[in-house]
């Protein structure tokens, strides 16, 4: 009798995880020959120098660090040292602010573009040029013009999440079936009612696909943006620990970033399921 596919897949996942962790452990566990050193001198040196220890932490160290962070995620030891929970909350708050602003702009503008072939063609060259710009390339310009680093970070989130939503909204709106629009016309629905009762629900799955792409990009970008501007947030945390050459903390942060990114994506996936329709 075969176990269900899910169970088998989970077993393979666990096996791969075990293999990965094992390989990681073996790769960093080797300790070079202890260097002969004057004990007084050795006191002044770090473990990598005195014991030939690998600069990479092992899975055990990272696990312990994760546990340490999880036990007290919200401590606050001053401006530059806050718990990982607080840092993540800062990042999420920034992402959400920039992202919601982008939604507020991209959806109406996308609507306009989608409904008007004129605007669509007129704005297309701008969108095509703006879209491929790396969001971080905006950072110096934002800092220079906005003159506030946390607003600049939010702006960068805004500018990176606006394009997928804009393009998807426009596409979704433009490809609403003619027959539904005809129904709306024969029902003498006014443009606002048509927009909310017909076009929006019809384009919603496409719009949400754009929103899901955007949130992914926004989360990717916030880490880099915070590494640049510093202050608070998970990106700053990574930078601060990198500054201390604490690879253990960097790896820990990477895992947290991955988990939060996944959760954000899952939330969007859930919303997508809610509003999608079978045709």
């Amino acid at each position: 009798m075969h176990a269900s596919l899910t169970v088998r897949a989970a077993l393979v996942s666990l096996l791969l995880l075990g293999l990965g962790l094992g390989a990681w452990h073996l790769a960093v566990a080797r300790s070079g020959p202890a260097v002969k050193m004057d004990p007084e001198y050795a006191k002044l040196m770090g473990a990598t120098a005195t014991q030939g220890k690998s600069a990479m932490p092992g899975p055990g160290e990272v696990g312990a660090k994760i546990w340490q962070h999880l036990r007290d995620p919200f401590y606050d030891k001053g401006t530059n040292d806050k718990g990982i929970g607080i840092q993540l909350a800062y990042s999420i708050a920034r992402v959400m602010t920039g992202y919601l602003l982008a939604v507020a702009v991209a959806v109406p503008v996308g609507f306009l573009i989608g409904m008007s072939p004129l605007m669509s063609q007129a704005l297309d060259p701008f969108i095509q040029v703006m879209k491929p710009i790396s969001p971080l390339a905006w950072m110096p310009l934002a800092l220079y013009t906005i003159k506030d680093s946390s607003i600049s970070a939010i702006f960068v989130i805004f500018i990176c999440s606006v394009w997928p939503m804009l393009i998807n909204t426009a596409f979704g709106v433009a490809s609403v079936r003619k027959e539904w629009l005809n129904v709306a016309k024969t029902l003498e629905m006014n443009p606002v009612r048509t927009a909310f009762r017909v076009i929006l629900p019809a384009a919603a799955p496409t719009i949400l696909t754009g929103m899901r792409i955007s949130i992914g990009i926004a989360w990717l970008v916030i880490v880099a943006a915070e590494m640049l501007v510093g202050g608070t947030g998970i990106g700053y945390f990574v930078w601060n620990e990198w500054n201390n050459l604490s690879i253990t903390n960097v790896i820990t942060a990477i895992l947290f970033i991955g988990v939060v990114g996944m959760l954000l994506d899952q939330v969007m996936a859930y919303l997508q399921r809610l509003i999608s329709y079978a045709d």
Binding site: M37, D38, E40, Y41, K43, L44, M45, G46, T48, A49, T50, A55, K77, G78, T79, N80, D81, P140, L143, Y144, I146, K147, D148, S149, M227, L228, V229, G230, G231, Y236, W239, N240, E241, W242, N243, N244, L245
Partner: protein, 484 residues
């Protein structure tokens, strides 16, 4: 240990604040005890006559012959010194350790931009803005700015200062230009560059105090431990923290003195200090002239060794500065004054060798430098592993002295010109004066009856060659390797 110290300092604060206020009131009542030179470590400010200078009130009365103006100036000077150091023992210790002229010069920066008289009339006016943000880069150069926070120096001045760790020099520049920070830790050439509009919009900036002197080093990858002669370094890749940094100028100077053209024989890159050790480990660079704790960290992690300390290139060179925009100084002179008092006090405290271990502990936590205490101790005490198996001792590996010599600025300008960062005519003396606020210091010192440093400029020796700030162009011409 550090905690106990903090507590002690904080507990002392309240009492000292009260004392300061009492003294201020005393000035307004017109007591004349402040005629006495407050910068003389031998003096006490205890009162025997109304000014404390004379054996009796009669002797005092006889001595009052100064012009009203001068007297006024001195009253204020004295008031401020006492406000800062209400306890005589502390004041004397401070003056003995940094030298009276230096202390006065630095303190004189409370009265920048010629607005001294008005500012003085109110002596220690209430800060216009109590909540201040000061940016710093996590390196030991920032010690005074950082330690003033945990050790309560800011709080003592009635300020609520947030010291904000910042990702890099360009960011700290932008955030200060954007007024997110009221003042900041900068590389000392940066305010000059900003004032001249190099690499940013031109905004008048000032350096009221230098933070540290010395305290940098050339660190090489451990694989080069046998290549101690710079002539063997052709093709090396070096990292410096920023284009407008003493590190850049010192490394270029050092290389050029050994016959290497820093632009063609080696590669120089701007790398944020935190990434330097990782790059050294990854073999992306062969070495760097970097601020500490980065150098010692490379040794600590066994990836680099100390080639030379920067003091071996120029003993007494400035490195980082405490910088503020002139707009901030003009808009909030009292806040600025209070901030500077805190910095100067911290600098004085940091300059003492016996305090260094405590400071190392105070600034090591994640919220400040986020570095191992062992590393910071080695940097600050000057007893350090050199990465080649020896323990070296040099108590002046890094030290702290706030006086912003104009000639420092002039030297930086010569190097900017020498390496082509600025072109054309340079008003060395003028630009230096604009940014490094030593002029006010000298003026006030003279009025107060002190012997100021011979000038606001001094000559110094860089790798055996004397620099005359009066002849900057000749100095540049004297170099074989240059870009002009």
């Amino acid at each position: 240990m550090a905690q106990a110290l903090l507590l002690r300092l904080r507990r002392g604060d309240a009492g000292r604040d009260k004392a300061a206020r009492r003294d201020t009131r005393g000035i307004h009542k017109g007591t004349v005890m402040s005629f006495k030179d407050p910068f003389d470590p031998a003096n006490t400010l205890a009162h025997s006559c109304s000014c404390g200078e004379h054996e009796s009130q009669a002797a005092h009365d006889a001595a009052v012959v100064d012009s009203t103006d001068k007297r006024y100036e001195r009253v204020v000077q004295s008031a401020i010194v006492r406000a800062m150091f209400p306890q005589d023992a502390q004041r004397r210790a401070f003056l003995a350790s940094v030298g009276a002229s230096t202390a006065l010069a630095a303190i004189a920066q409370f009265f920048p931009l010629g607005m001294a008289t008005e500012a003085l009339a109110q002596a220690q006016g209430a800060p216009e803005k109590k909540d201040l943000k000061v940016g710093f880069i996590p390196i030991t150069c920032a010690t005074p700015i950082i330690m003033a926070h945990p050790m309560g120096f800011y709080a003592k001045q009635g300020l609520n200062v947030e010291v904000v760790k910042t990702a890099g020099w360009a960011v700290i520049r932008d955030k200060t230009l954007n007024k997110e920070y009221d003042a900041a830790h900068m590389l000392s050439p940066m305010p000059i560059a900003i004032s001249m509009g190099l690499g940013s919009t031109a905004v008048p900036f000032a350096v009221p105090a230098i933070e540290n002197i010395n305290g940098q080093a050339i660190t090489l990858s451990i694989k080069h431990k046998d290549k101690r002669d710079p002539k063997q370094w052709k093709g090396f890749k070096f990292a410096v923290p920023f284009d407008y940094s003493m590190h850049n100028y010192l490394l270029r100077y050092y290389l050029a003195e050994h016959g290497l053209d820093p632009d063609t024989d080696v590669q120089l890159r701007s790398v944020p200090p935190p990434e330097m050790v990782a790059n050294l480990r990854a073999d992306n660079i062969d070495g760097f002239l970097a601020p500490d704790n980065v150098c010692q960290r490379a040794i600590f992690d066994g990836v680099g060794f100390n080639h030379i300390l920067s003091k071996e290139i120029w003993d007494g060179h400035p490195c980082c500065a405490f910088a503020a925009s002139k707009a901030f100084i003009a808009e909030a002179p009292n806040s600025y004054g209070a901030l500077l008092r805190a910095i100067i006090e911290a600098t004085a405290y940091a300059s003492k060798a016996e305090n260094r271990k405590q400071i190392a502990e105070a600034i090591a936590p994640a919220t400040y430098l986020n570095a191992p205490v062992t590393v910071l101790e080695q940097v600050l005490t000057g007893t350090y592993a050199d990465g080649l198996g020896e323990i070296k001792k040099d108590p002046n590996r890094v030290t702290f002295d706030p006086f912003p010599w104009e000639s420092f600025a002039v030297w930086m300008l010569t190097q900017m010109k020498r390496w082509g960062q600025i072109k054309g005519e340079v008003d060395y003396a003028g630009s230096g004066k604009q940014v490094f606020l030593a002029t006010d210091a000298t003026k006030l010192m003279k009025e107060a009856g002190f012997t100021p440093p011979p000038a606001t400029s001094k000559t110094f020796v860089v790798m055996g060659k004397t620099f005359d700030p009066a002849q900057p162009e000749d100095y540049i011409k004297s170099f074989a390797i240059k870009r002009t």
